[in-house]
Every structure is written in structure tokens, then in C-alpha cells.
């Protein structure tokens, strides 16, 4: 009961760099449990160097505190399980696409344009505005776009 409520609250927290995608759908929540008066959430970073992870940790803390004001809350970041792109849920992939970011493919050449869905795309730079994305150009609809890096 409480656990379901806990997941609902975590689903409200988003990555500040991808505001439409919840951290649950990004696969960042490795564990969440309620034991008596204690709530423990374990988050895993998408990229170790990602500066958003600390902000996300704080946001989770704030959201949980607001919902469970009498509980002791512990939110930790760990590398216990390495995050990988196959942790992104189907909902997450759809939300990425709606944000104009191509969801990760099997490799760097397997990328469909988020605007026209065609595969006639060209990798322009392995790095883009954040650690987790690469820069592409769609030859079909002539839009530049970013794609989530396969990891």
C-alpha cells in the first residue's frame, strides 16, 4: 500500500535536463522501501559525471518529506548496479521522443529521427548539450536533433 504510494511520488520527480521523463521511467530508481517509520530510496546515476544527479537526489528528498512528514527518509546515490540504457521503460522512451530526443538504439548508427521517424540520420558529434546525448542530423526532414547515447 505504502510502497505503491512511494512509487507514485517518485514518478513525479523528473530529470531537470529532461523535464518530461520521470526518474522511474529513466530507470534511475534501483530500490525503494518502507520499513516502519523509515523510507529508503536507492538511486543510480545515468552518467557518473552528470551534475543533475545531486539535484535529483534533493528533489526526491523534498518530495518524500512533503508526502511522509513523519518518516525518516534516506535517499542515496550508488553505483551498486551500473545504469544502462535498457533500464529506460517504454513510457520513458515515448516521453523522450516527445521531448525531441531520440531514444537510445542498439548502437550509434541505429537512431530514428524523433520528428519524422526515418532512419536516414547522420551522427554529427558524440557529445551534445549533456553527457547522456549525442548530436544528429536528419537527412530526411533536415532537422538537427539529440539522441540518448546507448550505454
Amino acid at each position: 500500500m505504502l510502497s505503491a504510494e512511494l512509487m507514485d511520488i517518485l514518478r513525479e520527480v523528473t530529470d531537470p535536463e529532461i523535464p518530461r521523463v520521470s526518474i522511474v521511467d529513466l530507470g534511475m530508481v534501483e530500490g525503494a522501501s518502507v520499513k516502519g517509520e523509515h523510507i529508503t530510496v536507492s538511486l543510480i546515476p545515468t552518467f557518473v559525471g552528470c551534475p543533475a544527479q545531486m539535484l535529483i537526489q534533493e528533489k526526491v528528498q523534498e518530495h518524500l518529506l512533503a508526502a511522509f512528514p513523519t518518516h525518516a527518509i534516506s535517499v542515496r546515490l550508488s553505483l551498486e548496479v551500473p545504469w544502462s540504457t535498457d533500464r529506460i521503460t517504454d513510457t520513458g522512451r515515448q516521453a523522450l521522443k516527445q521531448s525531441g530526443i531520440a531514444p537510445p538504439g542498439a548502437d550509434l548508427n541505429d537512431v530514428a529521427c524523433p520528428f519524422c521517424n526515418r532512419h536516414d540520420t547522420l551522427l554529427q558529434n558524440l557529445f551534445a548539450s549533456t553527457s547522456c546525448r549525442s548530436l544528429y542530423y536528419c537527412r530526411a526532414c533536415q532537422n538537427p536533433f539529440e539522441a540518448f547515447k546507448p550505454l
Binding site: 559525471g49 551534475p51 558524440l126 557529445f127 551534445a128 548539450s129 550505454l151
Partner: protein
């Protein structure tokens, strides 16, 4: 040697040999990433084109983020806070390779920055290959947290190395004669200062005995093999041998490191521990 059981940093703290080895390899990794991340971010606004400006900024951020993670592990050995370790240690306590503290070129970020893109990329490529060699060994480390960090960061570093490889190939294949000459010079300049990069400052035996860095004494050879295979395939002659100069792994540095430290820690020193 029999496979030692793996231990957590909390357990390692009280075992002198393991502690010394863990600390030593972490300081090298952290200080390398911190100083190369600093050199990378000096390119902001100056990279060859706008997309690359954004891309290289992301690489800088990742280097500093990786350094932050290594410093965090050091702080778990009760060596001080992560931010203090990054910003307050004097040059002689730093264990980064001298190659990585070399300026990006002539001038400074604020005054006539005549930076050398070919050198920046070539030097970064050497750094990426070396860090990946270390991380590859660390995936089998007796220290649990080093193994976890290695698994994760290795996957991210592949993109760094691929980015530099692509630039080197592009400058050779698509560039004119001047561009090709610059790449050759970049390789010579990088090579000249690279002696202390694939080096553990004489601690290879300790690293191997404690299994903190399994196979530590073989990494230098495999590093040079990878460099030579890549440059050889491109027809780039690497000058034979490096020039032995200062060894950053033993705390010896050029004045360039001190100058860099003054810039990157200037604000932090105003009020260490302030919340931003």
C-alpha cells in the same frame, strides 16, 4: 597469487597496505581527471565550431564529474571532504601526470588564447587510453568500490576516446597539409611529455601484491601498444622514446599546475565549505 577476497573501503581503511595502495591509485585518477577537465573547460567559447564548443564542454563536465567521484571515494578514507581534496591541496601533493597540466597552447583563457586544438585532442586521447587501461585493471580490483566505479566509468570513457579518435582522423583525412603537419606536431609534443602518464610512481609492486590494481606493471606496455597501433594505422610516426622530465606521480610539477590551481580554486578559497 591467489585471488584475494574483495573488501569495501570501510574495511580497507584499517589495513595499512590496502589503504596506501587504494589512496595512491585514487589520487592519480582524481588529479588526472581534475586537471584535464580544467584544461578542457578553458576551451569554452573557443572550440573550432559551435557544436564542438557544446560537446567539449560536456566532456569537461564529465572529467570533473569523474574526478568528483574519485575524490568522494578518497573522502571515505577520512582524507577530507571531496571539495577540499579537489581545491585545497598544494601542487606538490598532486599526483597528476605533468602532460595533463601543460597549457592548451600560448596565451591564457582571458588574454590572447592562441590554443592548439590538435595538441588538446591528441593529449586527451593519450589520457583517455591510459585511464581506460587503469579502469580495465580496476574492474578486477580487491577494492569493491573501485571495481564498481571502473565498470561504470569505463563505459563512459569509450565515448571520450572515440571522440578524440574521430577528430584525429578528421584532421588528417579532411584537412590540408597544414592540418596534417599540426597533427604530427601534436603527436610529437604529446609524446615528449608523456613519460609520467603511464606510470604509478614506483608503486606497481604494492598495487599488484594488494590486488588493488591487478597487473599494474603491465599497463604501461599495453598503453604504448594501443597508442602505436592507432597512430601506426594512420601513418603517423611517433618519435621514438619520450623525454624524461618531472614525474607528476611523485609530486613533481611544472609552474603551469600552480597557475591552474590558483584559477580553479580561487572562488572556493574565499570561503571553503560555502553552499552555492
Amino acid at each position: 597469487m591467489a585471488r584475494t577476497e574483495r573488501r569495501s573501503i570501510q574495511e580497507i581503511k584499517d589495513v595499512p597496505d590496502l589503504r596506501v595502495a587504494t589512496q595512491a591509485v585514487l589520487f592519480q585518477l582524481a588529479d588526472d581527471d581534475m586537471v584535464i577537465g580544467f584544461r578542457d573547460q578553458e576551451w569554452l567559447g573557443l572550440a573550432p565550431h559551435i557544436e564542438e564548443d557544446v560537446a567539449f564542454g560536456s566532456i569537461a563536465q564529465e572529467e570533473i564529474g569523474h574526478a568528483a567521484h574519485y575524490y568522494e571515494l578518497l573522502s571515505q578514507l577520512d582524507l577530507g571532504s571531496r571539495d577540499d581534496l579537489a581545491s585545497l591541496r598544494p601542487a606538490e601533493e598532486r599526483r597528476n601526470s605533468v602532460l595533463l597540466e601543460r597549457p592548451n597552447g600560448l596565451g591564457t583563457y582571458l588574454e590572447s588564447p592562441h590554443f592548439d586544438w590538435a595538441f588538446t585532442i591528441m593529449r586527451h586521447y593519450f589520457h583517455d587510453v591510459w585511464e581506460m587501461r587503469c579502469l580495465g585493471a580496476l574492474t578486477q580490483s580487491a577494492a569493491i568500490e573501485l571495481g564498481l566505479a571502473a565498470d561504470k566509468i569505463l563505459a563512459e570513457k569509450r565515448y571520450h576516446r572515440a571522440h578524440q579518435e574521430l577528430w584525429i582522423k578528421t584532421m588528417l583525412d579532411r584537412g590540408d597539409e597544414q592540418s596534417q603537419e599540426r597533427v604530427k606536431k601534436a603527436l610529437a609534443d604529446t609524446n615528449e611529455w608523456a613519460a609520467d602518464l603511464p606510470d604509478f610512481g614506483g608503486q606497481e609492486c604494492l598495487f599488484e601484491e594488494t590486488r588493488i590494481v591487478p597487473g599494474a606493471s603491465t599497463l604501461s606496455t599495453s598503453f604504448w601498444q594501443e597508442i602505436d597501433a592507432f597512430t601506426g594505422a594512420l601513418g603517423l610516426p611517433r618519435p621514438s622514446g619520450t623525454v624524461t622530465r618531472l614525474n607528476g606521480r611523485r609530486g613533481q610539477h611544472t609552474p603551469a599546475l600552480q597557475e591552474a590551481l590558483e584559477v580553479w580554486s580561487e572562488v572556493y578559497r574565499l570561503e571553503p565549505g560555502a553552499q552555492w
